[in-house]
Symmetry: C2
Subunit: 220 residues, 2 copies
Amino acid sequence: MENVKIIALRESVFEDNNADAKLLRQELSDKGCFLINLMSAPGSGKTSTLRALLPLLSKELSVAVMEADIDSSVDAEAIARCGVKAIQLHTGGMCHLDADMCRQGLRALAYEEFDLVILENVGNLVCPAEFDTGAHLNMTILSVPEGHDKPLKYPLMYESCGLLVVNKTDVLPYFDFDMDKLREYALMRNPNIEIIPISAKTGEGIASLAELILKKVKST
Amino acid sequence: MENVKIIALRESVFEDNNADAKLLRQELSDKGCFLINLMSAPGSGKTSTLRALLPLLSKELSVAVMEADIDSSVDAEAIARCGVKAIQLHTGGMCHLDADMCRQGLRALAYEEFDLVILENVGNLVCPAEFDTGAHLNMTILSVPEGHDKPLKYPLMYESCGLLVVNKTDVLPYFDFDMDKLREYALMRNPNIEIIPISAKTGEGIASLAELILKKVKST
């Protein structure tokens, strides 16, 4: 598709990713751009959640999306079809993005034009949680079919995220998913995590999620 | 639980994992032990598929399971409750296992006593596919809720696996999952991949899967 630019990311040269991420976060704040790092397992519904959210966020903010994938550009194309600026980042096999890889995408996007940029990280509950991308907010999605035990098995993801979206609530009747246990396990990893159940498919909870994100962006 | 041993894996010192994996595979073959490396995204149902399969496999073979996780030992406990020997491998934050980490688990298990050992790898569609563990068969599970587009996004996983299990077929009516497209995309990555749809929950397809695995073990 014509409206999707594909950026092949270079491996980073910085040894201290935490320091680099801090610099990037400050630079973004100075330019008035809020960055969200959206992470989840493959198939949790990152792209479909964004497609449901973007029309609400775009009413009040100028928004762009960076889609990170090892290969393919199906996600960026899906986002671009919402009328939102999207670029595709190819990680060249890498399982995560660090701050400098994120910076390469932001520059290609000309991030200064946007109030909010959302990075859709590689679908992976392990490695992305280890790397600060420079984002102001780390957000993760857990979908009902994956099960409520994930915070027990992937602790760092839940420790590093301020917002946990529980997606696919429309299929709750067909799975043995215990929302109370999920809350208990997630709060055990991070007592400050905010938890919002949604269904990107039916639209349930999307308005609350948009409201929460808008509040966070505006208060920064 | 008393019957689950937990092994903390050390990082490997071998530079050439491919050569090391080849050595391990030969050693296992010499001792008559078949090793399966089971990989998938988090929540695809690796453990529940094993729990459905193990009673059928155990009728004809002596079987043991190595459960790899970053943290927790819930999976090994679940397997041990089936009456099958299980050990838990803790990767210490590592997102995958290589051949030497696998070897550490096999030795702790005393693998020579078993005809078949199944390694349940860390839930991750990216990194585990990059490392040959020494297994005779790489097997991956994709669950219906994750979507049929995964072979487009995670090419190496499908290229490296000889067997693709499509789990959670019981919820096909509730998801926009196209089995024909999945077949097309998976075969595009690997023309020799065998595809078996199952439901670990209802038991559909489990007998066919057990039969296929038994055939592979016995013909090696």
